[in-house]
Symmetry: C2
Subunit: 199 residues, 2 copies
């Protein structure tokens, strides 16, 4: 695009490959970085390097962590009887931020997706089963995403886990808090009706 | 947010300070970077460092450049009689990409904005005037943004330049190509009417 600064072009191309960032946003970001002081720009570069150097995986819950086991698995205030199963580390982070869950997590590292060639062996299911051996856990909450692949993953896991005598639950699907019934899609509305509760 | 990986939190905070990136996008980007290989992540960090090391400013047109003078100012195929004045390097890049202009650029480095304390002395106007001394330039195209501050900057510059006997023009404001008259705002419609041309 801009032939007088090849390195800018390279930066734009690299940024444009990030998720949710098109070429125009990438160009805006690159020109913003050009306007930063050298220290500020290097701070971004350093935090990216740092994250890749420090962050690994917890050998228990498979979540990202700087320590092993991770701080959640180590935390004595967390209930050890409930494990909330999520697809990705970002999902665990979102639930943690919401502060409504005080049990442990298990990060699958994806969801079943036959079209992408992702089967049960590609997810950290073996690691989940290993956590059930000592009999501490009495409930597994399946918090995979409420879409086709997430539902399939939840169904697969529930069939695997229920015979083991553990309570298996699925997070509720319904109308988002603060939303408008009028604008909700019909699948969500039907789910909200099915999942109705006595008040 | 996610207490088991401080460096992730730091990266999210840093990314969220970039323009057009909110906390949620920053988190998505950070988790994407975590999933990249170390080499891929370091490539991003390196391109950011590289851009800050290599890119400086052209001493003639004040545009960003890896060489001085920049490749545009050096290019013998460019018409030296016309200078297109823009606010930022990104604007020059956009015009260059459109390939409809074969003259030279001048990057002001901003626009007049009394509310932000930006006056004429904060823009590279002195450098623009210096380029007119040898009498080569016979037209200045004012291509500052078509908003309040950009218009004020253009008006200021035209008052400064016209007495010097140079033709001063302003890029046309009207309906964007491919747009719908029905959805255009009234300021744009009025400008499009005022700027009408014989066909």
């Amino acid at each position: 695009m801009y032939n007088s600064a090849e390195s800018v072009e390279r930066l734009i191309n690299r940024l444009a490959r990030l998720p949710g960032i098109g070429r125009k946003s990438a160009a805006r970001l690159a020109f913003h970085i050009l306007k930063l002081s050298k220290d500020e720009a290097n701070e971004i570069a350093d935090t990216i390097r740092e994250v890749k150097e420090k962050v690994g995986y917890c050998s228990i819950c498979c979540n990202i962590s700087e320590s092993d086991p991770c701080l959640v698995c180590q935390d004595p205030r967390r209930r050890r009887e409930v494990i909330c199963v999520v697809e990705e580390a970002a999902d665990a982070a979102a639930l943690d931020k919401a502060e409504g869950f005080d049990g442990l997590f298990h990060v699958l590292g994806g969801r079943l997706s036959p079209l992408d060639g992702i089967g049960p062996d590609d997810l950290r299911i073996k690691e989940l089963l290993a956590r059930l051996d000592d009999g501490t856990v009495n409930e597994i909450i399946l918090a995979t995403n409420p879409n086709v692949e997430g539902e399939a993953t939840a169904t697969y896991l529930s069939r695997l886990l229920r015979p083991m005598g553990i309570r298996v639950t699925r997070i509720a699907r319904g109308l988002p808090v603060g939303s408008d019934l009028e604008y909700a899609d019909s699948a969500t509305l039907n789910r909200a009706l099915e999942g109705r509760q006595d008040i």
